[in-house]
């Protein structure tokens, strides 16, 4: 790194003064979200989650044809009497759901003014609160190439303050390497579950690697793509030397209206590529605008998502 690079670094906007992200008002909003989420999932709001496993639970789930080897006690004799057909009764097997909230904490999330990271932390807190309210097992992690920071798995609404405390400590640093970070995540967490990745997906090695790591290790990934419109339409003009805030990669460029238009298109294409990839892999994908109020974002996720069943 040369002397000029030092000057260059100084041109990165300093992070805004520290402020309490999860204040009283925020907590009131979370409470409201929890109430609203109950209405959204009315009738299914007991303190348990139903797994996809069909087995020895008490709640009837479905029928299937009898195959040799099935427990004969599970044959629905009433159906056989009526339809002369051997069907086996299937029950929902109840179990605790593990929810992993993965927050990308690379430098690009803190660019230009921490808004992306703040939105990610707010979303993470909201999801954690709703999950803890439903007695799920919640684990929060921050990802960057500098290491995987982890808040121990917890459950129960009362533990939300631990989550706040952890998220407050998360700062933007280091480069994005989703593949490596998520590899170490799956290595450390044997219990499979829902893995919600909150990131801007700005990974020089490609965001696909990271998502695939989750998929291939039988996690249920869900992508919350943090999008900042200023990335597509920066307030830049003239002859500039642009450099990557994470890698320091430089490009000489003359910014004019045409270039800004093309940049906007490129950013849109990038987002669409991420969405296409997720859709093709049946991974839930949500683009989240940093300027959008997080309550609306969370409610929208609940309505459209389905990952919180």
């Amino acid at each position: 790194m040369g002397v000029l690079d030092l000057f260059r670094r100084s041109s990165i906007p300093a992070p805004p003064p520290a402020r309490r992200l999860f204040d009283e008002e925020f907590q009131q909003k979370l409470e409201m979200l929890a109430l609203v989420s109950r209405r959204v999932f009315a009738g299914r709001l007991r303190a348990e989650r139903r797994s996809k496993k069909k087995g020895s639970g008490v709640e009837f789930a479905d029928h299937r044809d009898y195959v040799p080897g099935d427990d004969i006690r599970s044959v629905d004799w009433n159906v056989y009497q009526r339809f002369q057909r051997l069907l086996v009764r299937l029950y929902e097997e109840e179990e605790d759901l593990s929810i992993y909230l993965l927050v990308d904490a690379s430098l690009s999330m803190g660019f230009p003014d921490q808004e992306k990271l703040d939105q990610a932390r707010r979303l993470c807190a909201a999801l954690a609160y709703v999950s803890l309210s439903n007695l799920d097992r919640v684990t929060v992690l921050s990802l960057s190439d500098e290491g995987l920071l982890r808040m121990p798995t917890t459950r129960g609404k009362g533990r939300i303050f631990k989550v706040f405390e952890f998220l407050e400590s998360v700062t933007a640093s280091g480069r994005t390497d989703l593949g490596e970070a998520l590899k170490s995540f799956v290595a450390q967490h044997k219990r499979r579950g829902l893995a919600i990745l909150i990131s801007d997906l700005y990974d020089p090695k490609g965001f696909e690697a990271g998502i695939n790591v989750l998929r291939f290790n039988r996690f249920e990934p869900c992508i919350l793509h943090i999008v900042d419109r200023r990335d597509a339409r920066p307030e830049l003009r003239g002859d500039l030397l642009v450099y990557d805030c994470e890698t320091g990669e430089e490009r000489e460029v003359t910014v004019d209206e045409g270039l800004l238009r093309r940049l906007e298109q490129a950013v849109t294409h990038y987002r669409q590529a991420a969405e296409r990839f997720c859709t093709s892999k049946q991974v839930p994908y949500f683009a989240v605008d940093v300027q959008a109020p997080f309550q609306e974002v969370v409610l929208d996720l609940f309505r459209r998502g389905g990952f919180l069943r």
Partner: protein, 624 residues
């Protein structure tokens, strides 16, 4: 194309140096501002698409340089002050004679005729060729150059603004003489008159063969004026004032006028008058009370027609200050004389017997009644009644009896008001022997009997008989004679004028001992005027009240008034058919505006336009 500024070689040198520096700056790589972005690979993709247009980008940068060089060449060429072929030929030399007479204050043009003349003069100046030169001359009674002969437009325009209309006429003959003198020896001389044409054209104008053209301004002719205004105190009652005003309707239609008379700033009298076409109406105010010093007359049109010249709507007069004259009477006793002196309350009369002469104190006038002692230095002027044979300033010649005034100087201040002087019968007296320089004011058939003169610094009047030996003392002429003589000595009443006329040289009485005095004009200007022979000389061009003052130890203050009083100036109808030496004066024509002839202006405008184009293309990212 010819250069009147820097030479071609100098221009090429300047252009080469600056162009090289400009090109160098363009060749040097721009130091770019470093800006962080969140994800450089996206920019990389964008820039990859841009690589294809790199040639066009480079070309645009060269276009930008070309624009800069064009701008530079326009600027450098303007330094050479290029002129179109032939434009640098021999230029004209022009005298702009701008009429500054009172009629140019007429408001039939906006703001007035002089304002209009200024506009025309500016138009002419802007039309001057690059080699032409001009001088602006204010044409009043005296021509005054308002600048130098120059080709600089800014100087000429400033000179035009300096021209001021005066309360005088304009002397065209003198102005033409001045113009021809100014253009003497210069090629292609021209005289341009900017006037309303209301001028007195000399019979033999001295134009020295120069071409004269004119620009006539003005379109109205409605005017009412005060053409005479005079006032005086009554000799026997100086608290009363007699005023004469003459109002003239210069129009060819009747006019209604409101005439106001103000004394010391207070309205004394308002009169409505009706004047026929071209009528001059004198009006007397025989007994004006309420004014002790300043008198002012104003007129205003009370009819439908406007009065377009305000300069002659006011007239001013100033009464002499009523000084108390110190009079010493050296007499053994003379009732008639004492009675005559009682008539003027402004006399401080002291009486002394001949044996007690001289008493202490200084006097303005000493009356010697039948005696002629040695005159004391503080005696002032002297009136001798029946002087003895010895000691008087005039000698007695021979004894006369039964005589009277057969001839007298009717205009002499001493006897100007003395009526029926020829009826005076004198029993006995003496004829007098005037010396050289003396004035015989009155004489009988046998010789002079009333003589005025000056001896050893003392003015005197000598009457060759005892008034009591005649019926002179029984007549009204007697007190008038005595008091007029005192006025003659003390106040020089005969020489006093209530107002001066503008456009003339004034000789204002002032103490002999002073060399100069400060003159405060009606417009508030303070001027130093020289004093010679007891008179301050000044050429007055402004109507109103003046104040002449000097001396710190023994302050001298003299106030006086001045009026336009020029019927010719009051006739404001413009005269477009001006003829000089029998030839009609043609109309002056302005040349094309100089901007078309001076290329440097065009070049500068081009440079500005190029600069604007460069600015726009740069900020629109067309040439970057």
């Amino acid at each position: 194309m010819t250069l009147s500024g820097l030479s071609w070689s100098a221009l090429f040198g300047v252009f080469g140096a600056v162009a090289a520096a400009t090109a160098l700056l363009y060749v040097l790589k721009l130091r770019r501002r470093a800006v962080p972005v969140p994800f450089a690979p996206i920019w990389k993709n964008v820039l990859r698409a841009r690589e294809s247009s790199r040639f066009w980008s480079q070309l645009k940068r060269w276009l930008s340089l070309l624009l800069q060089l064009l701008l530079l060449s326009a600027l450098v060429l303007s330094l050479g002050d290029p002129r179109l072929g032939g434009a640098l030929g021999e230029g004209k030399n022009i005298v702009l004679l701008m009429d500054a007479s009172a009629s140019m204050k007429a408001t039939d043009e906006k703001p007035n005729r002089l304002g209009r003349a200024r506009e025309e003069a500016r138009r002419l100046v802007r039309g001057l060729g690059p080699s032409d030169r001009a001088v602006v001359v204010q044409m009043g009674m005296l021509p005054t150059a308002r600048g130098t002969l120059t080709g600089e437009q800014s100087e000429l325009l400033a000179s035009i603004d300096k021209v001021r209309a005066r309360d005088t006429g304009a002397d065209l003959g003198r102005a033409l003489r001045f113009a021809s003198d100014s253009l003497h020896g210069l090629s292609r001389g021209q005289i341009v008159l900017l006037t309303d044409g209301a001028l007195k054209v000399p019979e033999r104008p001295e134009t020295d063969g120069l071409s004269v053209s004119q620009v006539i301004v003005g379109k109205g002719k409605d005017n009412l004026s005060i053409t005479q205004f005079s006032a005086r105190r009554y000799p026997l009652d100086k608290s009363r004032v007699e005023v004469m005003i003459e109002v003239t309707n210069t129009n060819d239609h009747p006019a209604d006028i409101e005439l106001s008379l103000l004394g010391d700033g207070t309205l004394i009298d308002v009169t409505r008058l009706h004047l026929g076409p071209e009528e001059r109406l004198p009006r007397f105010y025989p007994d004006v009370a309420g004014a002790s010093r300043r008198l002012e007359a104003r007129i205003a049109s009370s009819g439908d027609r406007p009065d377009q010249l305000p300069a002659d709507d006011r007239a001013y007069a100033l009464m002499p200050e009523r000084r108390r004259a110190r009079v010493l009477v050296v007499t053994p006793g003379n009732t008639y004389l004492e009675a005559a002196l009682l008539l003027d309350e402004y006399l401080d009369v002291s009486t002394v017997a001949p044996k007690k002469y001289p008493p202490a104190g200084a006097f303005d006038v000493t009356i010697f009644d039948g005696v002629a002692p040695v005159v004391h230095e503080k005696a002032g002027a002297c009136l001798y009644l029946n002087p003895p044979a010895e000691g008087a300033p005039v000698k007695r010649k021979r004894r006369l009896s039964l005589f009277g005034f057969d001839t007298w100087e009717r205009r002499h201040p001493v006897v100007r008001f003395a009526t029926a002087l020829g009826d005076v019968q004198v029993a006995e007296g003496y004829s007098l022997v005037p010396e050289k320089g003396d004035t015989v004011v009155g004489a009988s058939a046998q010789g002079p009997i009333l003589v005025a003169g000056k001896r050893q610094g003392h003015r005197f009047v000598a009457l060759g008989f005892d008034p009591r030996q005649s019926d002179f003392v029984l007549r009204p002429a007697w007190p008038l004679f005595v008091l007029s003589t005192i006025d003659f000595f003390a106040e020089e009443e005969a020489g006093y004028v209530s107002s001066y006329r503008t456009g003339e040289s004034w000789r204002i009485p002032a103490p002999d001992s002073l060399e100069s005095a400060e003159l405060l004009t009606p417009s508030g200007q303070r001027l130093t005027v020289p004093i010679q022979g007891g008179r301050a000389a000044y050429f007055g061009e402004e109507a109103g009240f003046y104040r002449l003052s000097a001396g710190a130890v023994e302050p001298f203050v003299e106030e006086f008034a001045a009026n336009l009083s020029d019927l010719e100036e009051s006739r404001i109808a413009p005269q477009p058919d001006l003829t000089i030496a029998g030839k009609p004066v043609p109309e002056a024509r302005a040349g094309a505006p100089e901007i078309r002839k001076k290329l440097w202006i065009v070049l500068l405008m081009a440079a500005v336009a190029l600069s604007v184009v460069e600015w726009l293309t740069f900020h629109r990212r067309i040439t970057v």
